[in-house]
């Protein structure tokens, strides 16, 4: 009859990715945390400006625009703090990723409709408002962030995280 005891696993070095993954994920996690926190703190001191910015997209009815405009900076800060601490990393990455997807959709929608989103000046005669040329950059940048979030959802184990310290994950 086969013995019940487990055999010790043969000793061998873990594949490259397994060694590097936690560090890469940590970098991604901290990078996204910085993005979220900077964005949130920049907006939270100027809630009327945040509401105006949401309104400018002309996508939401007035009451929702006001609600979203006021709530968004704090949501960004909360997500940023979670990512910074490495607490519920995967969930935070999902929320962050969704936010970025929504932003991209908004930017593309505004772009397509020829709206000028930034509080910019119009020179008349078709001169480009300062905000307009940033559409492509903003879209690409936000897509990059989405990629980062997806990466983190796939590989959420990181170093120096509360998830680890509280033994919420492996």
């Amino acid at each position: 009859m086969p013995a019940v005891t487990d055999l010790p696993a043969p000793a061998h070095a873990p594949p490259r990715w397994e060694r590097w993954q936690p560090w890469v994920s940590t970098l991604v996690r901290l990078g996204l945390a910085a993005v979220a926190l900077v964005a949130g703190f920049a907006k939270i001191g100027d809630l009327p400006g945040s509401v105006r910015a949401v309104r400018a997209y002309e996508l939401l009815p007035e009451t929702l625009a006001v609600l979203v405009g006021n709530a968004l900076p704090m949501v960004e800060i909360v997500v940023g703090l979670l990512l910074l601490a490495g607490l519920f990393t995967r969930a935070a990455a999902v929320v962050f990723g969704l936010l970025m997807v929504v932003f991209v959709a908004g930017i593309i929608s505004a772009w397509a409709r020829g709206l000028a989103i930034d509080c910019g000046c119009f020179g008349g005669g078709g001169q480009v408002a300062p905000g307009e040329t940033a559409y492509l950059e903003d879209t690409l940048r936000d897509l990059l962030f989405v990629a980062g979030a997806v990466f983190l959802v796939r590989w959420p184990r990181t170093r120096a995280s509360l998830d680890r310290a509280l033994a919420l994950t492996d």
Partner: protein
């Protein structure tokens, strides 16, 4: 060499150890799940509270135009300062019945707005004095995180309210002063008072400007500027300056107000 039929003591001990380990692992999993739920709930509650606080504080900051205590006399429900043939802020008296309303949304820190004023002030004055148009000035502060912007808009509101006859000249002079303001990235109360004095504003109002008591507190116009800017954002959607409305219709952003005769054309078209 008979096959063993019964597990030996050693094997039974090993089995027991493995069972214990399995039970420990199971317990640890349950503990982990419970920890996650508890911590997760706490974080969720805190997050919701934080967002609620932000939303409530944000709402408190808004007050519709009707509720603002101090507004420039004659200012409109859309947060504008109307000027008619008499050239006095707050009244359109004497304008023709079919006078076209030209709304000008501007910001004192906006370069194109200063240019607009420079190029079009004379034409607009002509048409206004003839009674053909009424100009509604929306002197708003779109850079809401800039106290400088607020200061400038509040000073204009003060002049419109308490020195309405000098409003047009003051508005023009303040726009012309923009390069200096941009260079300094500030403007002192004395400087604004000086500009007001130069266009003939009376001593009372000049003194108020010098004291700096035209922005916040009693006698301050900041609440009106904030409400007017918010109203502008609601009415226009995209808030950019300068924005021109002819009888409430927004001129296309491709429209070239740097071209001569654009206003005549637009007004003619509005008259139909």
């Amino acid at each position: 060499m008979a096959t063993q039929v019964r597990p030996t003591k050693a094997q039974r001990r090993d089995e027991a150890r493995i069972m214990a380990e399995r039970m420990r692992a199971e317990q640890e999993r349950k503990n982990k799940r419970q920890r996650t739920i508890v911590i997760g709930s706490v974080v969720a509650v805190l997050a919701v509270l934080a967002v609620l606080v932000a939303v409530i504080l944000g709402e408190e900051g808004r007050s519709p135009l009707e509720e603002v205590e101090l507004s420039p006399q004659g200012s409109t429900a859309t947060g504008a300062i109307p000027v008619g043939p008499q050239g006095i802020a707050g009244t359109a008296e004497g304008a023709a019945d079919d006078a076209v309303v030209v709304s000008v949304y501007s910001d004192y820190l906006c370069g194109y707005c200063a240019l607009f004023e420079e190029l079009n002030a004379d034409t607009m004055a002509e048409m206004r004095e003839a009674g053909d148009i009424v100009v509604e000035y929306h002197t708003i502060a779109i850079y809401s995180d800039s106290p400088l912007d607020m200061q400038l808009a509040a000073s204009a509101a003060l002049i419109a309210d308490r020195a309405p006859e000098q409003f047009l000249d003051f508005h023009h002079a303040l726009m012309a002063y923009q390069p200096t303001i941009m260079e300094q990235q500030s403007i002192s109360h004395e400087e604004i008072a000086g500009i007001a004095r130069d266009v003939g504003v009376g001593t009372d109002v000049v003194t108020q400007l010098e004291s700096g008591e035209y922005v916040d507190g009693e006698g301050g116009y900041a609440p009106w500027v904030v409400a007017a800017t918010d109203k502008a954002s609601q009415d226009l959607g995209r808030l950019a300056t300068p924005t021109i409305l002819i009888d409430g219709e927004m001129l296309d952003t491709q429209f070239n107000w740097q071209e001569e005769g654009w206003l005549d054309g637009a007004v003619e078209a509005a008259r139909g």
